[in-house]
Homo-oligomer: 209 residues x 2
Amino acid sequence: MIITAEEIKSWDRIRRLNLINSITGYKPANLIGTRSSSGQDNLAIFSSVVHLGSNPALLGMITRPDVVPRHTLENIRETGVYTINHVDQSIIRQAHWTSANWDREISEFDAVGLKSDELNEINAPCVAGAPVQMAMKLVEEVSLKVNGTILVIGQLTAMRVDEGAINDDGSLDFARLGTVALTGLADYFKTIRIEKMPYAKVENWSSEK
Amino acid sequence: MIITAEEIKSWDRIRRLNLINSITGYKPANLIGTRSSSGQDNLAIFSSVVHLGSNPALLGMITRPDVVPRHTLENIRETGVYTINHVDQSIIRQAHWTSANWDREISEFDAVGLKSDELNEINAPCVAGAPVQMAMKLVEEVSLKVNGTILVIGQLTAMRVDEGAINDDGSLDFARLGTVALTGLADYFKTIRIEKMPYAKVENWSSEK
């Protein structure tokens, strides 16, 4: 069936949020670790981390200044650094509950029971045991005119990962990492690899396969 | 182990591309359908579609003006519209091969063997049979100073989906859709749902669970 934007607009708010948040497909599940200038740690789940460039390694994430997790944005502005940590199957529940509206003076690490660690001496906590931990420095903040959403752009300065989780070609071995995927606001998935496709060159295409 | 950005910089280019493209975690697999002002259809796979807002429904995607799939961006600028289509298990190979450097006068629909369809009378083709098809209109184009990457922002005007693939709460039923996830440049995954977490309210948290 076809549903128009006008029809979606008439849906109740929660139903519309659930549809539009799930419409893009699978999303990454990452925990963003930050520290305020007064030393208060913060941790928040984000599903909007996106690749912007490989050399240097630039990653973006979308946030809003007016809603949870606004503490994350405030802290990044104060310190200029943050961490990105993959969510694996063992910490789904804790990761998800960082999205509750905890008071600013409460560390979500303590609230949900996750252990923090240090990474590359930056002034932001990472998640101990997370299968991929990235140290990031803020590069640019872009405010989107259309709805006030903010694209936070950071550059990777270091990462922690098990040596055995990097394939020979440099890609990460997701079966080994145990990283989960997310849809909508709160649906968590594990995965089964179907196949790795080759680099697509026109002369190698065969419709017979 | 810890790997610094300096070490990654010393890796060969392909290895670095594979690492940094996989580092964000799972990504959505979507086909973007466009048409040039002269009527030439184009189709390209993107892994960077991201949610920007729900009311109105705003979605972003990242592209670069200087690399494939640049025809997509040119066409969106010409017509102001495009479609976003979920990739399901039945079309992984065709979807992936849209990333080859096909000549501009070749329609990737014809090249890889996918059937086009019309959606909501916009001047862009959608992918017939794709489990979710979205008609989009261009709202804003944001050039990122840091590396010339472009964030294309569009507003949903209509969508096509099986009625039974929308859950009671408005979210999409991904088991039914068969949509796949992507990591890195070309690793495709199917999924198994682990659990849906509740809306996280501080007063409902229990560390006992």
